[in-house]
C-alpha cells in the first residue's frame, strides 16, 4: 500500500469564497500575520502495491477528470513518503 496525495486548489484568479471567509475571520481571532488564504481539497488515496509510473499516470488521470475541474482548479499529485 502506498499513499498518493492529490491536492486540488482553486485557480489563482478565481473567486474562493471559503478562503476569503477564513481570511476575514483570522484577524478577528487575533491572528494578524496572514496576508492571504486559499482553501482547496486534499485527497489521500491508498494505492495497491508499489506506485509505478503507470499507476501514477492513472492517478493523474483521475485527478484531472474526477477530482478536479480544470476550468476552476489546479491539482498536484505526489507520493507521500512513508
Amino acid at each position: 500500500m502506498t499513499r498518493v496525495v492529490v491536492d486540488v486548489m482553486p485557480k489563482r484568479d478565481l473567486l474562493d469564497p471559503q478562503g476569503k471567509a477564513v481570511l476575514g475571520a483570522l484577524p478577528r481571532l487575533g491572528f494578524e500575520c496572514v496576508r492571504d488564504v486559499r482553501q482547496g481539497k486534499r485527497f489521500e488515496l491508498e494505492v495497491d502495491g508499489d506506485v509505478t509510473e503507470d499507476r501514477l499516470a492513472e492517478v493523474r488521470r483521475a485527478a484531472e477528470t474526477l477530482l478536479s475541474k480544470p476550468v476552476i482548479e489546479d491539482y498536484t499529485v505526489r507520493v507521500e513518503p512513508e
Binding site: 482553486p10 469564497p17 474526477l66
Partner: protein, 223 residues
Amino acid sequence: MRVGVVTFPGSLDDVDACRAIRLAGGDDVPLWHGDESLRDVDAVVLPGGFSYGDYLRCGAIARFAPVMNAVVAAAQSGLPVLGICNGFQILCESLLLPGALIRNDSRRFVCRDQRVRIERASTAWTAQYTAGEEVTLVLKNGEGGYVANSSTLEELEREGQVVARYLGPNPNGSMHEIAGICNGRGNVVGLMPHPEHAADDLCGAGTDGFRFFTSVLHAALSA
C-alpha cells in the same frame, strides 16, 4: 409528448420535475442513471438534488453515469435538455455547458423565492417567455455561484447565451448575475433556480416557472 427525467443516486427534485411535466400536459418518463437508453423521449430534464451527495464537486460523479453518455450524444444532436440546479452542475461537468458553479459567496445554503429576468426566449425551454420578462422562481442551493473565465463570459454575452439573470442583490456571487445559460444552439439549458417549484400555485412560489415545461412541449410538437 415524452419528457424524460433522470434519477441519479441523490436526485431529489425528480418527482417535482415529473409533476410539472404532467401539469403541462406531457408524459413524464423516468430515466435511471444506470441505463444507457433514453427510452425515445423528446426531451430530457436533469433534476435538482445532491447527486452522490455532492461531496466531491456538485455533479462531478453523476457526469460519469451511463445514462449521461446517451444524454450527451442526444444533446449534441439537438435534443432539448434542461439541467436544473444539480442538473445545471452536471451539464457543466459534462462540458455540455461552459463554466462551473462554486460555493455561494455567503457560504450558506439559500432557499428563497427569487426574481429573475428571462434574457433569452429563443431556446427550447423559454420560447413561451418574452425576452426581458421578469419572473419569480425558487432558488435553493449551496453551490450556485456561476464562474467562468473572461473569454467565456464575453462569448456567452456576445452570443446571447445568458438565458436568465438574477434581479436584486446577487444571491450567490454569480458572475454577471448569471442564473442560467444555454449552449450555442439553444437546446441545452442550465438553470440554477427551479422552475418546477414555481409551477403549482398551492405548493410552490406561484406559477411563473410553468412555461419552461409548456415551452418544450410546444417545441417538441412543432419539431
